[in-house]
């Protein structure tokens, strides 16, 4: 192990790690809205709208994230869609995780016993009020865990953005391995950074989970 080299490249990798955090957090943030939109579309009476949402989710989950990224980045310009690499990473990440997240959200809402919303409705709660104050708080515990897992998957998948030349953690690591010929040192450092990021996210998920379940007795 060459520790001098490790000290030397740490600032570079930390800067690259910030790009990873930046892209992932923005993709997760926008992805949440995509997911809510997809869940909402699936509640429509008009069947073609539901089919559109189901079809979208199926196609996104059935094709590789990597191919989606290449399609939008290299194929987008022929549709008049020119995105710079970072925006492209955020947009594709958001639309990708949105599909997975909508399934997680729908699953957790459906896991709440139907009697709960029926009881609320018969007690005079409105449809929206039933959803917001009866169903969602009970769905929250499951939802936080499953959405959290998806967020961690997205952080790991954000490494693929390096292919469209965004200087994030994996790209920087690959470049440093190429210029220093010290794969073990660089890999150790960059793996450590991914692990720190992922454990930080896991900590946030755990806090959110505790807060969501503070009134429930288990």
């Amino acid at each position: 192990m060459d520790f001098d080299l490790m000290v030397e490249v740490t600032p570079l990798l930390i800067r690259a790690a910030w790009v990873t955090i930046d892209i992932s957090s923005r993709a997760i943030f926008f992805g949440f809205f995509v997911a809510c939109g997809l869940v909402f579309l699936q509640t429509f009476r008009f069947a073609p709208i539901r089919w559109f949402a189901r079809g979208y989710i199926s196609v996104i989950r059935g094709t590789p994230y990597f191919v989606q990224l290449l399609l939008v980045f290299y194929g987008g310009p022929s549709l008049g869609l020119r995105l710079d690499p970072i925006t492209c990473g955020v947009v594709v990440g958001a639309f990708n995780i949105g599909a997975y997240m909508s399934e997680a959200i729908r699953g957790s809402i459906e896991s709440v016993d139907k009697g709960q919303s029926e009881a609320a409705r018969s007690l005079g709660f409105g449809k929206v009020q039933t959803m917001v104050s009866i169903v969602l708080p009970q769905a929250a515990s499951l939802m936080i865990r499953s959405v959290g897992v998806l967020a961690i998957v997205l952080i790991k998948n954000s490494s693929l953005v390096s292919i469209i030349s965004v200087v994030e953690l994996t790209y920087q690591a690959q470049r440093l391995i190429g210029s220093t010929y010290k794969p073990l040192e660089i890999f150790t450092l960059s793996a450590l950074m991914y692990i720190i990021i992922i454990y930080a996210v896991m900590g946030i998920i755990e806090l959110a989970y505790r807060r969501a379940t503070r009134y429930t007795t288990q």
């Binding site: 191919v67 989606q68 194929g75 008049g80 998948n157 292919i163 794969p183 073990l184 890999f187 692990i195």
Partner: protein
């Protein structure tokens, strides 16, 4: 904005060759990751901490870092000592990655097999390792099939990432055709469609396999 799919038709044999290489890689990785995952799981449950802890550390390491980073490390790291073809690095990298995920599943399902099974088998005269091999592992394997199927579907999608280290699978095979024809959109749409079809076929296969084994669970 008009689409021209003639280059895709012209280069379709190249794409099919890419599908062939990708399938070969996927089959090799599936065998390696399922068998390897099972071995790793059994060893890390039933041996001394000196052996099992390093194994668990590697499972954890492979699960917490991105696939692409592992591939770069293997590709450039191994490349320092020996010259091996990209496809071997690809199979090893993807294989180790999914071996860790499968081992994680096997550890959970092996532990879910009731202790009574072990005790009953021992009292009927099976040895320790024979019990594990003939009684515990088959039951655990059947229970793992749904999650293994999910992992294998994810793995097939991840073969596309191997193009980054130069494995001649579908995405890589299209690179030359795209650079000649300047039609990235058409090519990537067709590639996405091919992956989608493969994915649907795999989902059908998984559902069939689960139906076939349901009564044993």
């Amino acid at each position: 904005m008009e689409f021209d799919f003639t280059p895709v038709v012209t280069y379709f044999p190249t794409l099919l060759k890419g599908v062939g290489v990708g399938s070969l890689v996927a089959i090799a990785v599936a065998l390696m990751s399922v068998i390897g995952g099972l071995v790793v799981a059994v060893i890390s449950i039933y041996t001394k901490k000196l052996v099992s802890w390093p194994l668990r550390f590697f499972i954890w390491l492979f699960m917490t870092t991105p696939l692409l980073l592992q591939l770069y490390f293997l590709y450039f790291g191994l490349g320092e000592w020996i010259l091996i073809p990209a496809i071997v690095v690809g199979i090893l990298g993807l294989g180790f990655h999914y071996m860790a995920y499968n081992a994680d599943i096997f550890i959970a399902t092996i532990k879910s097999v009731s202790d009574g099974q072990y005790e009953a088998s021992r009292s009927l005269g099976f040895g320790h390792w024979n019990t594990i091999l003939y009684i515990i592992v088959p039951q655990a394997f059947i229970r793992s099939i749904p999650q293994l199927g999910n992992n294998m579907i994810l793995m097939v999608k991840d073969t596309s990432v191997l193009s980054a280290i130069g494995v001649a699978e579908l995405v890589y095979a299209s690179q030359y055709a795209i650079s000649v024809s300047f039609r990235p959109f058409e090519f990537f749409i067709v590639i996405a469609l091919m992956y989608y079809v493969i994915n649907i076929l795999m989902e059908l296969g998984q559902a069939w396999l689960e139906r076939q084994t349901a009564y044993r669970r």
